[in-house]
Symmetry: D3
Subunit: 240 residues, 6 copies
């Protein structure tokens, strides 16, 4: 099967890294196609950038010329998943939700450790809409910006691990979700520091997408995610 | 003061109608500036169209060349308000939230009567994020599409009033919110049918925006709605 | 229009101060009528005093001989608003709810900073009934009694500002509500300390009341706030 | 031990009936003292009357000259319990809460069947503040006014039993609470119609009050229910 | 009346201690019959042991040869109460729920202080199912194992009192529940340290059970707790 | 990898059917081992039987002599999952939770259609503890007993499909979960009737278990699911 993995920012190196992480856990026979949006911010750390990413991902996925079986939206706490679900019949998996749902199988409560403080409410809002907050112990910020994760991975690990420890000890989390598409390499070291299982959203989303495809399940079209009604769309999509 | 009232769809006649409704309740000295997005759908009735509207409204507001004191996003249950709040210091008022908050002053529980069944979950989600669901008795669909409201106002009134009656009698609502930017002319007749106060979101939002301005209150910049960080945005905004 | 602003305690200087604060934000053409209850406690800091204030405000408003367009109950976290709504057709606005609803337009979460620790649960209960807790980060006590605010304003500002800072930093509030009718002069200094918008309940309530009147909205009479049924009331109201 | 059972209305025959019901379940050695408020409405069916009852009950209890061990507030869904708790060290038991708490021992969910539609939101609000809504299936109105229960008991039984049946079948209740101080004689017939246990609030409250006394438990004074602070109360209580 | 008080562990000395505590508060004429399960763990501090206790208590109660009027399950946060309710017509009272329900009559919020950190989530889950979390300020662990309470009562008191103080001061509890069947002797000293009322679950449950019996109330059989359907049970119960 | 799939009842034909359903969706290389508990009821339709199943499944899994990678508890709404998680390091997946979590990827809200009315509260309770109720539209009973599903599959399909249609139309579900281990063959026909995706819990659980194993994730041992402490267990497990 073929799974599109859509980065939400326009930094190609992050797309490659996300793609590699996805490919590393994909089952034999699964082809991972990483996509970079045609427009948008180099990193997504707030609502303006996230809304822009939402439409950019939608158009990028729509423009993909080959058939595919599922789509992963590889941004943590981002807008847009519901739009993709309307446009597509194949399953759409958001990494924020995949990580949280996966974490819930492993412990009584989970925490998310993310990048900047300002992105915490976005993640909280996405979890609230997804109905995944009851067992969320906390969403914590490491203070590292998205691009810092690539620039100074050592400091990133340290900052993230520290918040993970506080999540387990102070907030009573029993599982940690890494709250950013670019954190996937850090899992082992956070496990070492906390003793708790650590869930990477991209990896979790790949297995969820594969599972849905194998089960023959597709997005429900009975109400919320019915295809857009035919109507006039003015000046869109933008033409290069 | 000057208030921008942004329609979320690209139908100019609806922009005019929304603008007229806003102007009708504006205080002396308030200038209402209705805006139509430069791109997007002729009516917004789902997530894809709504995400597109979100970014279209943002760019349209950003491109407005004169100073202004507040912005109203005049779409019911739409995405995007948080992005505007990041971009702007002036208050941003969403009509979904203005209607619900206003309704809460008037009765124990309120209901929303909207257009199509498929848009009900969008409104529910927006109210959930706004923390305004505890006293929401129901969100009901009249089955009328947005553009039907203009095309067949008589049938629209009938369908909406019927749902309003059911909201009061079956769902125990005591106040009705008209759940669409284009419903503003219907209030009186729904009042006549239900005996309950009827809140129009555009009108409510105008008074909220004026109030915030008069109180000297602006969007908090301490965390969620801090301005976007300076960074590279690729291929955006689209250039005509 | 004429708005009655009912103080909940019997301290005339506080009535004057509340009235002045209301008048300062009222629109041209709005007449503010401050009222002091005919009986009750010199300050309201608990349930017994608050229940007493509830009936005192009701009788005081009922005894007001002139027509009026709206009533503001200017006590933070007090009982009684629902009774006024039954008795009156004009809108009734509670400052606890007006402050919180206003704050919700400005940031992701808000906190209330109030006087004594013992009044925190009263405010929490009023917000719970009003359906305004989802986005309430915390209700914090400054430890200052109501009358201390007049007696030692300097210490009051300091104590309140300190709790406001903790609300923003520890509880993740982005907006602060001043949780007492007598705090209205402190807003600027709390803004200076926190960088967050500060909402005064009396000021917010004035704009809400004006808005409801201008929109032609009145209290719903379909169920909860229908007028009291005609019946025998023994020994009440008390006759001086 | 001596338990004061305070009726909330001024109808002496209802006080006697409540007192008899309380005495019927009291343990040997428990003296039930029924009290009628010195002022207020002949029946309490709304917020204005209920706030009035709140202060009337408080003053009536305060004026009681002998020692006592507990107080029962025998009105369903009424204001005032928190004020009594401040004034007294002995336990205060509200029949709304006693009925619901008792019902929760007996089935998965309970419903309340009360008098008029307009009183439903009052009961819902009281249960919400008491933290007893999670397992509340519904609050249903029989349409009978409080005084109708005495005037036409046959019709009352029929109307109440019908709503109880609907609560069990439609709302999935497994226990029924009789939602009015004057309904206590109806329990058996509602049991016969529904097959579900039926809890009378007055009876339940008597056993709760006795239990608290026997356990040596008194109202917590550490915060919310600390005694009112010493202060000047103007023109209160009213002097006949 | 006769009340069976079922210990959940197989330590006879704890059964005796629980029985003595129950007898100490029982009304004249109430016979307390303490029961030790025929199989299971010497102390119950986790889910495996608790599920085992659930079935052991059920079989032990079923094997009791004499008539009885109510059953108390004397384990804090344990599984099994719903099964007993299916098997029996007489009331079944869980001490976790009895303590919390009792505490709710006494203060605005309550906390539970229990033994080991690992049992906190079990208690939280039981309170959640019982619908008793809205007013639960916290569940805190003292770090003392169940059997330590007998072995080193002095250290136990100290550890428990310390957490109780933190519950009152930091979590804003106003009442403390002692979260273990074996803590009943400690109440007075925790009262002395906190100034808050302290509820012992076993004592509370005895008065609840007596109350239900006196009120003639039995477990609802209309749905959830209907008797098990007749069917083949293989290899059970185990035969010695 | 090897996955144990534990039936919760002692009917061997159901174990075989569950095993076949699991094997049908298992990935190449996954060995499904269906297990029947050594003791317990022929079908599980209530709390007594479910608690018994909980301990029976635990002992059956513990007695399994070979290594394995994950365990599926194949009963809908049953007790016991938390005990298995304590006993084992490998992931434990409950089909109730796997179905609901899977459904949440596919539509805005999901409903469960189960067997008897009396089992609805058990499923509701399990979903509540799992934090999966926010997006649960309803749990509906078809009225078919577990063993009826085998005896009269035609009637079962009809009854289940009818409830599924009502869930979609009346409760606004967009996805249906089949709420019984023995319903797995019915999915296609319910899809045909509702147009909504239908999730079978056993199938979903197999893909979840495989995913967790492939991701190298195991049950968190930091608190709730730490291994039972070493202690004396009397008379258990039962010896044949």
């Amino acid at each position: 099967m073929r799974i599109l993995v859509a980065n939400v920012n326009t930094t190609e190196s992050m797309t490659r890294s996300i793609g590699a992480q996805a490919a590393a856990v994909a089952a034999p026979g699964t082809e991972i196609v990483p996509l970079t949006p045609a427009f948008g911010a180099e990193s997504v750390e707030g609502n303006y950038e996230s809304y822009l990413a939402a439409v950019a991902v939608m158009e990028t996925v729509r423009a993909y010329p080959e058939p595919y079986d599922a789509v992963i939206q590889a941004g943590y706490g981002e807008h847009g998943r519901e739009g993709l679900q309307e446009l597509l019949d194949v399953p759409v998996v958001d990494i924020t939700e995949a990580a949280a749902s996966t974490a819930q199988y492993l412990g009584h409560r989970y925490s998310v450790v993310t990048t900047l403080d300002r992105t915490v409410p976005l993640i909280e809002d996405r979890l609230k809409l997804a109905g995944l907050t009851d067992r969320c112990a906390s969403v914590r910020a490491s203070g590292m910006a998205v691009l810092d994760l690539e620039r100074d991975p050592e400091a990133a690990v340290e900052a993230i691990a520290e918040q993970a420890v506080r999540a387990v000890e102070d907030d009573r989390a029993e599982v940690i979700c890494l709250g950013c598409g670019g954190m996937s390499g850090l899992a082992e070291r956070v496990v070492a520091r906390t003793g708790a299982p650590v869930v990477d959203g991209v990896a979790a989303a790949v297995t969820v997408a594969e599972s849905l495809v194998r089960l023959g399940l597709t997005t429900s079209k009975v109400r919320t995610y019915a295809p857009p009604r035919p109507k006039h769309i003015r000046n869109w999509p933008p033409t290069g």
